[in-house]
């Protein structure tokens, strides 16, 4: 028996070895290397990488651009989460309610398309929407007597533009996952509740939402992590636009790239990456804890 279990474990290890090797090479090793680099001063081309301890982290704490990037990224990530999850839940409920109708497929596809459409053309389209002079958004606001807004230039409005673009992209994926979750909820729960006189809102509030908690946890974690990693959205909406004005919304990944490949400070950028990793890990842990506590309480 014992030798059978041992040979089974051996087979499992051999079978998993290629995948584990690839995972270790493309995931674990780069993370370990980033952690190591964050403690060194390296200019990308020099063979010398002197160890400088926590000096990169100390400098980051007083770096106005990094702190601005951290603040912007955090605001964007939480705003995207706050918009995406409730919106996705509502949309998923509506689509699920129309399950079986002829247009159900169309609704799902229409909601999911922003997630699969290529980011750069999508961001360019939004750039046009937000254009202060020619954009349809200001035109629409003008119809209601609201003055044209410098969407892509004003420091606050530019962040809002990035949030809208990110939420628009994230909501499709969240809806799809939530619909799958909703369809896995046992119909008997709804039937029992209906027999007890529950209305639609009560069904959604007391059956659908609690039953979706594991799915909501997954969607929240994925949305938050991807929002902390935003880069192209901010870059395309505002930066390097010689003809069109645009406020560069400084986000963490953009700051890292700038420090790595323009300022040639790879160790410094690695320290930023370590901080981003730590934030994401802490927030993910907090989400797990939050959902688990609530699940236990309910």
């Amino acid at each position: 028996m014992r030798s059978g279990a041992r040979s089974g474990l051996g087979f499992a290890l051999v079978a998993l070895a290629p995948v584990l090797t690839i995972y270790a090479t493309v995931r674990i090793y780069p993370i370990a290397e980033t952690l190591r680099l964050s403690l060194h001063n390296w200019n990308i081309i020099s063979p010398r990488k002197p160890f400088i301890g926590l000096a990169n982290f100390e400098e980051l704490m007083g770096d106005a651009l990094f702190l601005e990037a951290l603040r912007n990224t955090t605001i964007i990530a939480f705003a995207v989460l706050a918009i995406t999850i409730p919106a996705a839940l509502a949309l998923a409920a509506l689509i699920n309610h129309r399950y079986g109708s002829r247009l159900a497929g169309f609704y799902e596809t229409a909601i999911f398309i922003p997630h699969v459409v290529s980011l750069v053309p999508a961001a360019l389209a939004w750039k046009w929407v937000f254009d202060a002079k020619l954009g349809p958004l200001n035109w629409l606001l003008g119809r209601f007597g609201v003055a044209a807004q410098p969407w892509l230039y004003d420091p606050v409005l530019a962040v809002i533009c990035v949030i809208v673009l990110c939420a628009w992209q994230a909501v499709g994926y969240a809806v799809l996952i939530l619909i799958v979750g909703m369809r896995n909820i046992s119909p008997s729960l709804y039937e029992a509740a209906r027999l007890d006189g529950a209305n639609s809102w009560q069904l959604f509030r007391f059956i659908t939402t609690p039953q979706l908690k594991p799915v909501l946890l997954y969607v929240s974690v994925v949305t938050l992590i991807s929002s902390f990693n935003i880069y192209a959205q901010a870059f395309v909406l505002a930066s390097d636009s010689q003809g069109a004005p645009g406020k560069l919304v400084r986000v963490l990944v953009l700051d890292m790239l700038e420090n790595s490949f323009r300022n040639y400070r790879v160790g410094y950028a690695a320290a930023e990456a370590v901080i981003l990793l730590a934030i994401v890990l802490v927030l993910t842990g907090a989400q797990f804890r939050l959902f688990r506590d609530r699940s236990a309480a309910s």
């Binding site: 081309i45 505002a238 930066s239 390097d240 010689q242 004005p245 645009g246 490949f261 323009r262």
Partner: protein, 439 residues
Amino acid sequence: MSARDAFAPPPGPSATRRRALCAALAATLMAAPLPALAQQKLTLWSGWTELKPFYERVAAQFKKKHPDVDISVEVIALREHEKRIALAMPSGAAADIIEMQVEYGRYAEAGLLPPANAAATAFVSDPKHFDKFVQDAVSVSGKVYGVPLFRGQTVLFYNTDMFAKAGLSGPPKTMEDYTTYAEKLTQRDSAGKPTVSGWSLRLSGGGMGIAEKFWINMHQYGGAVVREKNGKWFADYANEAGRKTLKQYLDNVIVKKTVSPEMKADAEAFSLGQTAMFIRESWVIGDIAKKAPGLPYATAPLPKGSIVIPVGLYVPTKDAKKAALAWDYTLMANEPENLVWLLDNVGWLPNRKDVDYSGVIKAKPAFEAFVNYPKDHSFFTLPFITPVSEVLTRLAARLEKGYLDPALAGNDAAIDAFLKAAADETNTILKREGFYGAP
């Protein structure tokens, strides 16, 4: 061996001949793909998309001279180009020929970029071909590392119709004139908001462009973002030149409102008739020819001088045979016929001086300001030091906020404090990288 083989007669002359024929045939078949294997491929990386036709044109000529060599031209956006160079140079994975601005120096100093071969060195070192400024821009410690190709140089572009309507007979002569002209040229709606900017200033966007444009304006007042003294550098803008420059931005944006941040800007605004004047490089001429061929405009030199950013071709490849071919390509790109084509069709200014560009300049008078400037016109370039990018990027981030800060407008003390804080940051960066020297 079978019994049958054992009793077979030994191979005679015909059998030997047959074997020899078979061997010859096999050898021929094996040798047949050799020409294909011998086909060499060189890769060229560029960061200017508009230059692709130029490089492909030179590649076609190169193919005639070297039929066994293919040139693959890979062009991407400049910022991405800089990133791929930064990644590929240390790992030895860069293309055979690459375009670089001032960053070549750091790769040369690190031993990642070999010097030019004898033919390219002789070509570049010949004072008949290039000015010393251009020769120095591809050299490190007197050793040539690349072949100069073109340069970015700035002049004023102005809309002649708008100038005539505003009663202005010619371009502004001094920096003070620029603001006066901008006021006259600005077109406004009934609420007084500018609809056509009098002078399009770089107020936003990513990267270091904002600081570069600030430096160009400040150069007219005698200032510099960083200045060299005995091989060391220091910030030189927390002074009168810096104050005048920032004050002029604030005057135009906040006080006189000749331009607003949300307006279209730069070459696009000029082509669309949404600005009366702006400062830019020669590529705009080619851009206008494509996008707004009927636009009535002219160019003029800036009051004191201009930035010049030389761009050269470098050969990082270590393979001697490929390197020789690659250097040959860079020299072919510098053939007079190709440089005239470059100026005429792309608009970037070639660096080689012993070429007759008069035909193009006559046909496109807008180039005149780039080549015929006052005798005392002074030029500057970005310093060939590692932290220059960080210095400019951080200054740009500060300026972007400063340009919109009403607390700075008309307040010299606040402007001075703003510039001092920025200059302190610049000096800190220079110190950290070992480039700082007290003024």
